[in-house]
C-alpha cells in the first residue's frame, strides 16, 4: 500500500451507483414478474406489483416511534447479553499493549506511528467481531425463540423491524467505538512524548519532463515498485507540479510552506557528506516569470519542510539586477501555482511521485484527525451491521456470520487481488489464463507464455474460465470496498484525514449499501414465513 490520497469522484460514483442499483432492481423485478406470470398466470404479476406497492406504503407509513422501540429493545438485548464485556479485553490490551510495542526510541515520530496504528487496529478488531456477531444472530435468534411472533402480530412493519435491528446494533457499535476511541486517544497522548499534530496537505497534479525536456516520464532505477519516477540530475528532466486554489492565508505577509519527501538514488558515491540537492522553481506560464528557489538537501523518508517567503528575490539576467517578486501576485494566477523540481547533482537521481510534494496548510489539532480516523472505523462497523442484519433476514445465524465475514474478508483483504485479476482479464493481459487453465498449467508444468493447444477441451476450459471471471466481476461489484474506511495511514503518517479523498468515499460506500440492504432485508422478512423450522 502506498500512501497516495486521490480525490474521490463522488459525482461519477453516484451515477455509477444509480445505474448499478437501477439495473439490478430492474432485472430482479423483471424476473419476478415473468416467473410469477408463468407460475400463477395473471394473478402472479399482480401479486408482485402488490408487494412493490406494499413496500412503498410501508416506507411512507414508517413510524419512528416503533423503530425507536425496536432499536432500544435491540440495544437492551445486546447490553444484557454482555456485549460490553469486550471492554475487558480492550482494557487488558491497553494495559499490556505497551509491553508489546517495542520502542524505536530514537525516532519519536515512528514511535507515535506505531502507537496510533495499534490503537486504531485494536478498536477495529474488537468492534467489528462484536457487531458482526450481534447483528448476524439477532433476527435468527428472534425467529428461533419465536419472540418475533409477538412483534409481527403487532402493527410493526418489516422495514421497521429491519431498521430497529440495524439502528439498535449500530448504537451498540457506536458506543463501543466512541468509548474505545476516547480511551485510545488519551492512551496515545500519554504514551507519545512529542506533541502530535495533524498536518494538512494540499496535493497537486504531477507531470514529468524527460532529460531532453520533453513531456514524458521519469526513469525507473530498478525498483519493482513503480510508484516513483526518477529525475536525472543536471539534465532538463523535471517534475512539474500544478497546485490549484492557492491563495494567501490569514497573515498576508506569510508565504507558503511546501513539504517534500523525495527519494534519492545515487549512481556513484558522490559527496557523501551531504544529501543530494534539489532545486524548486516557481513559474507563471502566463507571464513567463520564473523564480528559482534556494536548493535544499533531500532527506529521505522524513519530512523536508521548505518555507517559501512571500517576497522572493530573483536575478534578472537581462538587466543584471536583482528584483523582488511577490509569490501570490506575480507567480500565481487564478490560484494556480506551478512548481518545478529538479535534481542538481550530475549522475544522481531524485525519485518523485504525486504526493511527494505538497503545500502545507495550517495544522489541525491531532484529535481532529484522530476523530476522523475513528469515524472511519465507525462507518465500517455500521456497514458490517447493515450487512449482518440483512444476511440474518434470510439465513440463520451461523450462515449469516460466515456470509458477512466473507464479505468483510474479500472486501478488505482480497480486494486488491480481485481488482487486479478483473483488470488484467478485461485488458487481456492475464498471464496463464483463468483458474482452470492455471490449474492445468500448474499440473502439467506449462509455462504461462506457452499457448494452450487449440481443441475442444481448451475451448471448454476457456469458456468455464470466462464464466468464472464473470462471476468474479459480479463479486467485485457487489462486495463493498472496505479499504475506503482505512483512515489510519493518514494519521499514522502525521496527516489530517482528508475530507474529499477519505471521508467522502467512506460515506459513499456506507450509504450506497444501506438502501439495497434495507430492500433485501425487507423483502426477505416479508416473503418468508416467520415460523421457525
Amino acid at each position: 500500500m502506498n500512501f497516495n490520497p486521490l480525490p474521490y469522484p463522488i459525482g461519477q460514483a453516484v451515477i455509477f451507483w444509480l445505474i448499478l442499483f437501477g439495473s439490478v432492481t430492474g432485472i430482479v423485478l423483471a424476473i419476478a414478474l415473468f416467473t410469477s406470470l408463468v407460475a400463477r398466470g395473471l394473478k402472479g404479476p399482480a401479486a408482485v406489483l402488490g408487494q412493490v406497492r406494499d413496500f412503498a406504503v410501508d416506507m411512507i407509513r414508517l413510524s419512528p416511534r416503533r423503530v425507536f422501540a425496536l432499536s432500544s429493545l435491540t440495544f437492551k438485548e445486546a447490553i444484557r447479553r454482555k456485549a460490553l464485556l469486550i471492554f475487558v479485553v480492550f482494557a487488558l490490551l491497553f494495559m499490556f499493549g505497551g509491553w508489546f510495542l517495542s520502542g524505536t526510541g530514537e525516532r519519536p515520530d515512528e514511535q507515535a506511528r506505531v502507537y496510533i496504528s495499534f490503537v486504531l487496529r485494536v478498536i477495529g478488531w474488537l468492534t467489528l467481531p462484536v457487531v458482526l456477531l450481534l447483528s448476524c444472530w439477532g433476527i435468527p435468534e428472534d425467529i428461533r425463540a419465536r419472540s418475533l411472533h409477538t412483534v409481527v402480530t403487532k402493527p410493526a412493519r418489516r422495514n421497521e423491524i429491519f431498521l430497529g435491528r440495524f439502528l439498535g446494533f449500530s448504537a451498540v457499535g457506536s458506543i463501543i467505538v466512541v468509548i474505545m476511541g476516547v480511551v485510545g486517544y488519551f492512551w496515545i497522548v500519554r504514551q507519545t512524548p512529542s506533541d502530535l499534530v495533524a498536518r494538512v496537505p494540499r496535493y497537486g497534479d504531477l507531470a514529468f519532463l524527460d532529460r531532453e525536456g520533453n513531456p514524458g516520464r521519469g526513469v525507473n532505477v530498478g525498483d519493482m515498485w513503480e510508484f516513483r519516477s526518477y529525475v536525472e540530475g543536471a539534465t532538463r528532466a523535471r517534475g512539474l507540479w500544478r497546485f490549484k486554489d492557492v491563495y494567501p492565508g490569514d497573515n498576508p505577509d506569510e508565504g507558503l510552506v511546501l513539504e517534500s519527501r523525495f527519494e534519492a538514488f545515487r549512481t556513484h558515491k558522490g559527496d557523501m557528506e551531504r544529501g543530494l540537492l534539489c532545486e524548486l522553481s516557481f513559474f507563471n506560464p502566463e507571464t513567463e516569470l520564473r523564480v528559482r528557489h534556494r536548493p535544499f538537501q533531500v532527506k529521505e523518508f522524513s519530512q523536508n519542510e521548505i518555507k517559501i517567503d512571500r517576497k522572493l528575490s530573483m536575478y534578472d539576467e537581462e538587466t543584471n539586477t536583482t528584483k523582488e517578486v511577490d509569490l501570490f501576485d506575480d507567480l500565481i494566477t487564478d490560484g494556480t501555482l506551478y512548481v518545478e523540481a529538479r535534481a542538481i547533482d550530475p549522475g544522481q537521481y531524485l525519485g518523485m511521485a504525486r504526493p511527494d510534494l505538497f503545500i502545507r496548510m495550517a495544522n489541525r489539532p491531532f484529535y481532529v484527525g484522530y476523530a476522523k480516523a475513528v469515524f472511519g472505523i465507525w462507518m465500517m462497523a455500521i456497514l458490517v451491521v447493515a450487512l449482518g442484519v440483512t444476511a440474518s433476514c434470510f439465513v440463520k445465524g451461523p450462515v449469516a456470520t460466515l456470509l458477512t465475514l466473507t464479505f468483510l474478508i474479500i472486501g478488505q483483504g482480497f480486494r486488491e487481488f480481485m481488482d487486479r485479476m478483473v483488470f488484467q482479464n478485461l485488458n487481456n493481459v492475464l498471464a496463464g489464463g483463468g483458474p482452470v487453465e492455471s490449474w492445468i498449467r500448474l499440473i502439467r508444468h506449462m509455462n504461462p507464455q506457452v499457448p494452450m493447444e487449440p481443441g475442444v477441451s481448451t475451448s471448454i476450459i476457456q469458456f468455464v474460465d470466462a464464466r468464472m471471471f464473470d462471476l468474479l466481476w459480479i463479486v467485485q461489484h457487489i462486495v463493498p470496498d472496505f479499504r475506503h474506511f482505512r483512515m489510519a495511514p493518514y494519521i499514522a503518517n502525521g496527516f489530517d484525514v482528508n475530507f474529499e479523498s477519505a471521508i467522502v468515499p467512506g460515506l459513499a460506500v456506507m450509504f450506497g449499501y444501506l438502501l439495497p440492504c434495507l430492500l433485501l432485508g425487507y423483502f426477505s422478512l416479508k416473503l418468508r414465513e416467520l415460523e421457525a423450522k
Binding site: 509491553w99 526510541g105 519493482m224 529521505e300
Partner: protein, 452 residues
C-alpha cells in the same frame, strides 16, 4: 453461599480480577533497559541466567503471542513474511522493522531468521538511505537486532559472531567507514546521546568499547566462549576462532588508516601480536596456542620444531605429516603473515616509517613541498629498511601500495619543483619490482589530489 446479591457478586469478581492482576504485573513485567528493572521473574531470569529451556532470554510478549495464536504460529509467520516482502518493496522501512520484530517474536529460536533480518537491516536497508547518518542508524538497528537475537539464544555462538562482524567490518570497512567510525564514538543523534556514543552498542561508552573494533573483539571473544560448548555452523572452526585477534589487528590498522601514529598504535599492534601468538589479555590462550584437529591429529599454529615433534609422537603420526598439516593450516588463515605484520608494526621504526610517509603526504596537500619532500625521504628510508627486516612484507598489497604511493608523491614534488628525479632512491627496488601496479595507482593519486 448465595446471600450475596447480584451486584455484590459482580463487585467481588471485579476485586478478584484486580487482585489477580497484581501478581501478574509484579511477576511478569518484562525488564526495561538496564538491570534490576522489570518484574520478579525478569529479575530472576537475569540473576540466574535462565531462559526458555535455557536457550536464551524469554520475552514474555513473545511467549504470550505464541500462546494466543494457539496452533496458528506457522500461518501467522507466513503472513508476516509476505507482509515484510511488500513493505520492503514499497520502502516502508520502519513498518518493515516492526514486522521483523513480530516474526522473531513468533520464532525467537530460529537463528537463520535473526541472521537474515539482522543482515537485511544493517546492509540492505542501510544502503537504501541516502544520508550517511541514516545509514548509520540502520547499521545500528541491524546490530541491535542481532544483539537481541543473541540474548534470546545465549547458548549459540553464531549471532555473537554476527554482532562482532557488524561492529567490526560493517562500521570499519564499508565505503562510509570514516563516518561510521566517527559516529560510533559520537553518535549523529546528538539530541538523544548528547554527542556521546549510543550506549546500547557501546556498553555505555565503557573503555573496552571505545572503538568499534574493540567492541567487535569483545563480541568475537564471547562467540569463542560459546563455541567451546556449542559448535557453530558458519565456517571452519579454526577460521572462526581467529576473529578476536584479527579484530585487534583491524583496530590497530584502522588507527593507522586514520593517521594516528605513536605509542597507542604501537601498543595496539603489540597486543595484536600477543593475541595472535601467545595469550589474550583475558588469560585465554592466544590464537596460535590453540589446538586444531586435522587428519594428522592436533596441530598448533604457533609451534616450534620441537613442539611438532612432541605432538607427532603423541598422536603417533609422522613428523612430516604433522609439519605439512601445520603449514597447510597456517596458510589458511595466513598465520605467518599476520604474525610478521603485527610484530613489524609494533616496532618503533615501522611506526615512524608509516607516520613520516603519512605526514609527508599531508604536507604535500598543504602545499609545503620542500618539507614534504624531506619527510617523505626520511619515511621511505625507514620503509626500505623495514622491508629488508621483514621480507615477507614485500608481498603484502598494503605495504607495496603504501611504498609506491610515497614514491609517486615524492616524484610529483620533483616535477612541481622542476628538479630532476634522482636515479637512485630508497625504494627503488620495490618501484622496479612492482612497476606493473604503478599506472593504476597513479590514477588514484591524481584523483585524490585533484590533479588533471
Amino acid at each position: 453461599m448465595n446471600r450475596l446479591s447480584s451486584r455484590n457478586r459482580k463487585v467481588v469478581y471485579l476485586v478478584g480480577m484486580i487482585v489477580l492482576l497484581v501478581p501478574i504485573i509484579v511477576l511478569g513485567m518484562p525488564a526495561a533497559s538496564g538491570e534490576g528493572s522489570g518484574g520478579y521473574l525478569a529479575r530472576l531470569r537475569q540473576e540466574h541466567d535462565l531462559g526458555e529451556t535455557s536457550l536464551g532470554e524469554v520475552d514474555p510478549s513473545s511467549a504470550t503471542m505464541n500462546l494466543v495464536l494457539l496452533g496458528l504460529r506457522g500461518v501467522a509467520t507466513n503472513i508476516l513474511w509476505m507482509q515484510l516482502q511488500e513493505q520492503k518493496e514499497t520502502k516502508q522501512w520502519f513498518q518493515m522493522k516492526a514486522t521483523t520484530d513480530s516474526i522473531t517474536q513468533l520464532q525467537p529460536h530460529f537463528l537463520k531468521v535473526w541472521q537474515y533480518h539482522g543482515w537485511n537491516l544493517a546492509f540492505n536497508v542501510s544502503a537504501e538511505w541516502d544520508q550517511v547518518e541514516d545509514r548509520y542508524y540502520w547499521v545500528k538497528e541491524g546490530t541491535k537486532f542481532t544483539m537481541q537475537g543473541s540474548r534470546r539464544n545465549e547458548r549459540f555462538p553464531e549471532l555473537y559472531w554476527d554482532v562482532g562482524n557488524m561492529l567490526g567490518k560493517k562500521i570499519g570497512r564499508s565505503d562510509e567507514w570514516q563516518f561510521f567510525r566517527r559516529f560510533y564514538k559520537s553518535d549523529p543523534n546528538t539530541k538523544l546521546f548528547e554527542g556521546g556514543p549510543d550506549p546500547e552498542i557501546s556498553r555505555f561508552g565503557a573503555s573496552e568499547f571505545e572503538d568499534n573494533y574493540l567492541a567487535s573483539k569483545y563480541w568475537f571473544h564471547v562467540a569463542n566462549d560459546k563455541e567451546e560448548s556449542q559448535a557453530q555452523h558458519i565456517m571452519m572452526r579454526m577460521v572462526f576462532r581467529q576473529y578476536p585477534a584479527r579484530a585487534q589487528m583491524d583496530y590497530a590498522d584502522a588507527l593507522q588508516r586514520e593517521g594516528l601514529f605513536g605509542e597507542r598504535t604501537g601498543q595496539a599492534w603489540a597486543e595484536a601480536y600477543r593475541d595472535w601468538t601467545e595469550q589474550y589479555r583475558t588469560g585465554d590462550p592466544g590464537f596460535g596456542q590453540e589446538i586444531f584437529y586435522t587428519p594428522a591429529g592436533g596441530v598448533r599454529l604457533e609451534a616450534s620444531e620441537a613442539d611438532m615433534r612432541e605432538l607427532a609422537k603423541k598422536d603417533s603420526v609422522s613428523l612430516r605429516d604433522k609439519r605439512t598439516w601445520t603449514s597447510r593450516y597456517q596458510d589458511i588463515v595466513s598465520y605467518r603473515y599476520w604474525r610478521t605484520r603485527s610484530d613489524a608494526e609494533s616496532r618503533g621504526k615501522t611506526e615512524a616509517a608509516h607516520r613520516e610517509i603519512f605526514e609527508g603526504q599531508k604536507l604535500f596537500r598543504e602545499g609545503r613541498l620542500l618539507e614534504s619532500k624531506e619527510m617523505l625521504e626520511a619515511g621511505m628510508e625507514k620503509f626500505a629498511s623495514l622491508l629488508e627486516d621483514y621480507p615477507s612484507l614485500t608481498s603484502d598489497d598494503g605495504f607495496i601500495e603504501e611504498g609506491l604511493m610515497a614514491v609517486l608523491y615524492w616524484r610529483h614534488i620533483h616535477t612541481l619543483l622542476e628538479i630532476p628525479f634522482p636515479e637512485n632512491f630508497a625504494l627503488r627496488k620495490l618501484w622496479e619490482k612492482e612497476a606493473a601496479r604503478i599506472p593504476s595507482l597513479e590514477i588514484d593519486f591524481r584523483r585524490d589530489n585533484g590533479i588533471g
